[in-house]
């Protein structure tokens, strides 16, 4: 019997991409800045969000969708930090969030009140990179207690991110991590990556991060940032 070849030519994740596009236009209509926060486990995604919520809660209405494989621990921490709008997604084993999970949770959020939405992805630098969640951009976080070659090991994630935050700079010198090397490795993968160097523990560098977030929100709303 003859075997015939039939062309399909479809994206594998076309269903996810379709939902992500719906989410993106929904969030654009509400003028909500949406950041998909990705990192290895333990880089400090939740710490960065705790600091950010506490620092900006008077100026901005921030919502967080906190993804985790198990437990609502991160969501509980974030609620304590002053985020009244925190929703957990427990993936129950899945190593990444997908657009369907985000879409379900978005329906529960008071979007009319939100200026800035963080989607805290599952701690993993491989799987979340393929799944568009409808975000404005991915923000990848690494910390100085990891290898400074992380960008070279996970090029997909660093290439698809627009911004990189290097956390735990207060611990520089206690490990072999070199800031300049980490930066250079990341820029080699993605020359247009915006880089922040912070310590969520000491507070160092966070002012620039907050100012940048504020500007993203005011740009989205179409008003000029206060001087």
């Amino acid at each position: 019997m003859m075997t015939q070849r039939v062309n399909i030519d479809k994206k594998v994740l076309s269903e996810n991409d379709r939902l992500a596009a719906e989410i993106r236009s929904q969030l654009a209509r509400k003028k909500i800045v949406t950041l998909n926060l990705v990192s290895s486990p333990g880089s400090g995604k939740t710490s960065l969000l705790e600091k950010t919520l506490a620092a900006l809660k008077k100026e901005l209405s921030i919502a967080v969708i906190a993804g985790d494989v198990q437990t609502q621990n991160d969501a509980v921490r974030l609620e304590k930090a002053g985020g009244p709008i925190v929703r957990p997604i427990i993936t129950g084993g899945a190593c990444h969030l997908d657009a369907r999970m985000v879409s379900r949770v978005l329906a529960e959020l008071p979007l009319d009140e939100v200026d800035l939405l963080f989607i805290e992805n599952v701690g993993n630098l491989v799987c979340p990179s393929s799944y568009d969640l409808g975000e404005d951009m991915k923000v990848v976080l690494i910390s100085t207690t990891e290898g400074d070659d992380k960008p070279l090991k996970y090029p997909g994630m660093f290439r698809r991110s627009s911004t990189m935050v290097i956390n735990k700079v207060d611990l520089l010198g206690t490990s072999d991590f070199e800031l300049s090397r980490a930066r250079e490795n990341a820029l080699q993968i993605n020359g247009s990556l915006k880089v922040f160097e912070v310590s969520c523990r000491s507070g160092e560098g966070l002012d620039k991060w907050y100012a940048w977030l504020g500007k993203l929100v005011s740009d989205k709303k179409g008003v000029s940032a206060p001087e």
Binding site: T3, Q4, I8, K11, L13, H96, V126, S129, Q188, G191
Partner: protein, 120 residues
């Protein structure tokens, strides 16, 4: 291990195509996987085998074509293959490059020996 989720998306899409084209059996499913997707071909094949057991796809083999990275320089306009994820234009050393292949996850074709192939 996102290969299982990706295999699941492939199977769902292919089953839908089979239904539309009234196909009962497939010999193969051809996919293109860019190196930037971090998909491990062996893990994807394994996942595909595991979840197609007992489905109309059980006899289908997953044929994976790995696609190397190519990019176009936004400064000099020339194209080049990107090796080891070093995103620097080999012609002018500019770092602002547009990826033209190597980040895709695409179902290319299916192969069938069913007599009637509809074009639905």
């Amino acid at each position: 291990m996102h290969e299982l989720g990706i295999a699941d998306s492939i199977v769902k899409t292919v089953l839908k195509e089979m239904e539309q084209r009234k196909l009962k059996h497939l010999q193969a499913v051809g996919v293109r996987v860019g190196v930037l997707t971090d998909v491990v071909p062996e893990a994807l094949e394994f996942s595909f085998q595991a979840i197609t057991n007992g489905t109309p796809l059980s006899s289908a083999r997953l044929k994976i074509e790995q696609v190397p990275l190519r990019a176009k320089c936004r400064a000099c306009g020339k194209e080049a293959e990107i090796e080891q994820f070093l995103f620097v234009c080999p012609h002018c050393e500019n770092r602002d490059l547009e990826i033209i292949q190597g980040d895709e996850l695409h179902i290319d074709y299916i192969e069938t020996s069913d007599p009637e192939v509809g074009h639905g």
